[in-house]
Amino acid sequence: MPDPAKLELLTRTPGESGFQVHEVESSQAHLLFKPKRLPESEWELTAQPRGPDGSRNYTLRSFRRDRYLLLSPKENFLWELFDGSHSLTEIGKAFHFQFGAFDYGVIRQFLAKLYHAGLLEEIAGASDFQRSRPDKRGRRWARAGNSLLRLPSRLSFKLVHADRYCALLFNRGGFLLFHPIAFWASMILTLIALFAVIRLAPQAREISLRLAAWPLLVTTIIISLLPIVSMLHVLVHALACKSYGRKVREMGFFMLQGIVPTFYADVTDIFMSSRRARVIVDLAGPMVEVVLGSLAFLCAYGSTPGLGQSLFFGAGILLWEGAVINLYPFSFLELDGYNILADLLAMPTLRRQALALYPTLPRRFRTGEMLQRSEWILLGYLGLCLVSVLVYLVMHLDVIGIEIRDWRFTG
């Protein structure tokens, strides 16, 4: 019997002469190949609530590489067939009968996704080939450019073993935060604080004038307060995640969208839990600002008029405003309000989908192609984000305009 046919793959390193040749079994690169997922002990699959178009997505977690994938209904169908007993040809046929389309592109992309997440049994030699492939970083100037682009990520840091610390903190009293009594106590506190704010409102002008008289002190206090509150905020997110028995993958500091310095808790594992759990985890963080803001207002209400009262009142305003901004979903940023909206709509990648839809709109309107219900939602999200940003800009331009006029008047 002749030796099995081989494929020779040639690779080159950018900026260098010469090449490398890799030999792989060609029999592994045809349609009789039978993809096989890892044993069930290596992954976890959870069904998501139905989306606006009635379809159901799934989240798939790889224990081996600690990665999470969002599976579309088509991908979930394929996942079920990747049991090692169906060849790609058979899977293609089954896919065709189920969805009415012989789309090998979907199968190929999904396979690549699964290999990347370490969820399929790898063919001996495949990972060696990946490792032996040349460095793709390219020439020096390209590396320098990449290095500049990676600058925001260099400003980030993360806490190692965040899950262990969070579990410790949760077991040693953190769980009390998630008792119904704690929730109702927060609500009552907020109502009382609201009453205090109403009572203090007539003095708002005097309070703000007192704060304006101490700009350096007020700025120092705000700058010191913000990181502490931000850390507490993400810690409560993390503890809420632990209250559902899910893993906190990491905690740390990073530049949100590459520009906004932010503390964070990676609670991706909550996708393996219910929608209710996700919404509660999202709400837990802003509750820190609500409760601390309420306490600040109560302190202001109990203080005699003076700088102390003004600082408490100012802190209360800042904290409550922080909670509102965090819960506002239409800012293009993936803040807590956005996450809640995405969970309620059962569209976990709402922002990404909306941004991907935008470039296709001119063609679709030109060709008269109808938008589906879920796409109208994406369009609505984009529109509201755009309007919100415009309103924000206009309001702040107005503020600048007033300041300029005031400066000219006083000057």
């Binding site: 349609l31 990347h116 807590d336």
Partner: protein
Amino acid sequence: MVSDFLHKVTLFQDLDGPTLATLTSLLVLKKIKAGDTIFREMDASDALYVVERGTVVVSKHVHGDVDVVITRFHPGDFFGEMGLFDAGPRSASAQAEIDTLVWLLRRDAFHQIMTDHTDIGAKICYRLVGVFIQRLRATNEQAREAIRWGLEATGYSPTTDPVLLGRKST
């Protein structure tokens, strides 16, 4: 009428009127109904086909009852040219997608042209070489795509990192 049609076929574009008349006498007209097979993969090959009307689907067997469609031929196209030079088995199957009319140039007729009308034979061969090159390039491209697919499907994938699900609460 026939010579008007043949003059539009790439293969015979270098031939003048009288030459085409000579050639026409060597061609055989064949009608094929929609769905009928013209030849099967592994059949003995003995002729070249020129499509005058209809559509011909050429496919290659992959596995079980699955064939992969390689290409389609429309009026003015020709196929089965390997059969003019090589008696080896057909490399693919050809079937009519709709009612089709084809002209056959048999190998023995072609050899007669090459012997008796060397100038005509040279012109046809020159055109054939051009078409061989074009089809070989297309085949190379298809082979590259197939290999890329196979590699990606079996974990040798050089694709970029896929987008993963993640939630950073801030």
